[in-house]
Amino acid sequence: MKKVSLTIDGKEINVEEQTTLLQAARAAGIQIPTLCHDDRLAPHGSCRLCSVEITSGKKARIVASCVYPAANGLVVETKSPRVVKIRKVILELLQASSPKGRVEELGRIYGTSTDKFEKELTFCILCGLCVRYCSEVKKADALGFIGRGIEKQVVFFPEIALKSCPACEGQCFSLCPTGILPNKFARSVPSFGRSQPTVFPVRLWDEENFLNLTRNIE
């Protein structure tokens, strides 16, 4: 593998080609906050919290370090005022939908104001950790995304969940950065016994909507 040399926070770092900026930074002991990253999973780049400022030539821009590959001569700033400000806004936006768990912890570190944006509690930031863990590590595909845009949500597919979830004992729960998946799931577990095909939305209050979406007419 070819080696590339770059600068992160003023430190000269040599890494293999194809390494992401996040991996390079962590290898050098520089911490970058993340919510959707897990070393066992392919990068997703959905939370944008790992945003860093890169300069190549004259132009500086913001990229998601978890998906951006290291390149020769790159100058990376992980804690510049611009980056910190962006992370703060991202966290404030995330807190509007899920003000608990790791989102809350990071929010405290970045000194976010929790009431900046109107609350719309979904307790899901669509990081896809549970979905990807289920697909990539467990190879079960019991969870998935449905919908798009503001309607996008995470659901269990009961046909598969019924078989795979008991054996796995909900390893995906511990990954949830909103800290809410375990509680929500616990409430929907009894429904697994239902004979009717039902999909359990993580956003439970949307259950009725979702059932309307997927129900077969008798």
Binding site: V131, S135, D141, A142, L143, G144, F145, I146, G147, R148, V155, F157, E159, I160, P197, N212, L213, T214, R215, N216, I217
Partner: protein, 162 residues
């Protein structure tokens, strides 16, 4: 997943057409969207059993199939009526009183946008721009475009829909 789960016996005949469509595309997972479009052309919607069957047949995780089926607005996971009525609520049509037109259609059909009549005769949808703003407000009934139809014209057109 077991075959039995994906294919209830009483609906086996329903699957013949699906199998034909699937075979036409050599069961390639890359043809999923095309296959679903053709299935929907046949049934007007995508029944859950068919998606389960497809996922198995195309060797594609169910969550991937659902991800795609719920991403595109063209796919419907709930039954749709035999006749599809679209009312344009794009900017130009809005200015040309599309809300009035929508109310008119809603009252005539007795269903709200996004709904299907219980006899599966009509489905009413609102759409963005149809590209023929000069005709606005536009109503599309089974792919036929109508420019600013009056209540009596609509009544007549709906009567012709079986």
């Amino acid at each position: 997943m077991s075959q039995g789960l994906a294919m209830p016996k009483e609906e086996a005949t329903l699957f013949i057409k699906v199998k034909e469509i699937c075979a036409k595309h050599q069961g390639k997972s890359s043809a999923l969207i095309q296959i679903m479009l053709e299935i929907q052309e046949e049934f007007n919607w995508l029944p859950r059993e068919i998606l389960l069957w497809l996922s198995e047949k195309l060797n594609m995780p169910l969550n991937r199939v659902y991800d795609i089926a719920t991403f595109y607005k063209v796919f419907s996971l709930i039954p749709r009526g035999r006749n599809l009525v679209k009312v344009c609520t794009g900017t130009a049509c809005h200015v040309r009183k599309a809300p009035v037109m929508l109310r008119r259609v809603t009252q005539l059909l007795g269903i709200n946008p996004g709904e299907t009549s219980s006899d599966l005769r009509f489905t009413l949808e609102t759409v963005g721009c149809l590209g023929c703003c000069a005709l606005g407000p536009v109503v599309v009934i089974n792919d036929e475009y109508y420019s600013n139809p009056t209540t009596s014209e609509l009544e007549k057109l709906f009567k012709e829909c079986q």
